[in-house]
């Protein structure tokens, strides 16, 4: 029963969530609102507590055993508590906003911008036109990069239009194909979860 009941629960709730989409009735909408906007969020919140516990356990162990870089683990833990407490004590006041605007946002922006340097070296390796396909990738990427900045327009008036055409015709055609494939795969996986064929999320059975 310990093994079967979760599968039955997954199928039952999955089936109910599936059919509610096709029932245009206030009761069906109410069911959706209660399950998705309350029940799922409550369960998600508990899982977040579980994840938080794993985070702290990992870093506390590192600090206790004085593993390499343990001081950074201490910094990470203090940062979590500092941000959380500043949010709760000030009720997301100006101090909390400043922490976001002057610490999280710059760090996030800088981390992502760091990729601009590495993407350049990666592009050098990947874009060596070894065959027709690689050449096509190189040419398209170059056109898109140049066409999106003023110099593209300066070099050739039709460059922005060409970029627009690449994005809305050949690129979109391939992206639609990829999207259909991903969609079919996701639907198949969702069906497997509902029918109990895919159970790895419950501990690899």
């Amino acid at each position: 029963m310990r093994r079967r009941l979760p599968v039955i629960i997954a199928f039952g709730i999955g089936f109910l969530m599936l059919i509610q989409y096709f029932i245009p009735h206030p009761r069906s909408e109410e069911f959706y609102n209660v399950i998705v906007q309350q029940w799922f969020i409550i369960i998600f919140a508990f899982m977040y507590i579980f994840a938080l516990r794993s985070f702290f356990m990992h870093h506390i162990t590192k600090v206790k055993r004085k593993k390499e870089g343990y001081i950074f683990s201490a910094v990470a833990m203090v940062s979590v508590l500092f941000m959380l407490l500043s949010g709760l004590i000030t009720s997301r006041g100006p101090f909390f906003d400043s922490l976001y605007n002057y610490m999280i946002a710059p760090l996030q922006g800088t981390m992502f911008s760091l990729l601009a340097f590495f993407i350049a070296s990666a592009a050098f390796r990947a874009f060596r036109a070894r065959n027709v396909q690689a050449t096509l990738l190189l040419v398209t990427a170059t056109i898109v990069m140049i066409g999106r900045v003023p110099i593209g327009d300066y070099l050739w008036r039709g460059m922005p239009d060409l970029v627009e055409w690449i994005m809305t015709v050949p690129s979109m055609a391939a992206m639609r194909g990829i999207r259909i494939g991903v969609g079919l795969g996701a639907v198949a996986t969702a069906m497997k979860i509902m029918l109990g064929i895919e159970r790895s999320y419950m501990g690899g059975e």
Binding site: V78, L137, G177
Partner: protein, 209 residues
Amino acid sequence: MSISTSIWVWMAALLTLMVYSFLYKDNPFYRLAEHIFMGLSLGYTLTILWYNYIIPRVYEPLFLPPHQWSLIFPILLGMMTFGIFSKKYSWLIKYPLAFYVGGYAGLRIPLLLQSWIIRQVEASFLTPDKFTSLMSSINAILIFAGLFATLIYFYFSKKREHGFGAAAQVGIVFIMVAFGAAFGYTVMARISLLIGRMQFLLHDWLGIM
């Protein structure tokens, strides 16, 4: 040149420089900034979760009149997550997981079918309204052919020979154009972020621009 006197701007500038120090090599300053970022982001997410979800959707409906006592069930289900902390009761976590994953799977099926499959096919079909001019007709045919060829490229249950192989080859041409465009777009997005950070350092912090 007027250097900023705001402690917040200085903090943001120092953190920015600490991250960029990674361009030289991995170093303690970068790791410090990385861990601060990780901790602050987690703390921020928790605060948002608390104020935007837990308070209005759990605390208020449960503890303020009219009480929604039915919410005790998901709370009990959620509490089963803590079973993982004990070897004896670790199996309890399967129930909230099954509820969440199963429910979400069921919820996603019609949405995925609608937006990721039906709408994509619908938008690519050759309908009379797409043949209003020569250019729009060519584009419509190209989109249809490109989609068809891309799908053939990802179909691995048939040997790639004759017409099928040729169609797969056309498919890869479209895929390469799409990947190139996506790459170019990503590079531009990263560079605009880099420009933004440089602007912050030179304008907001040092005031030399």
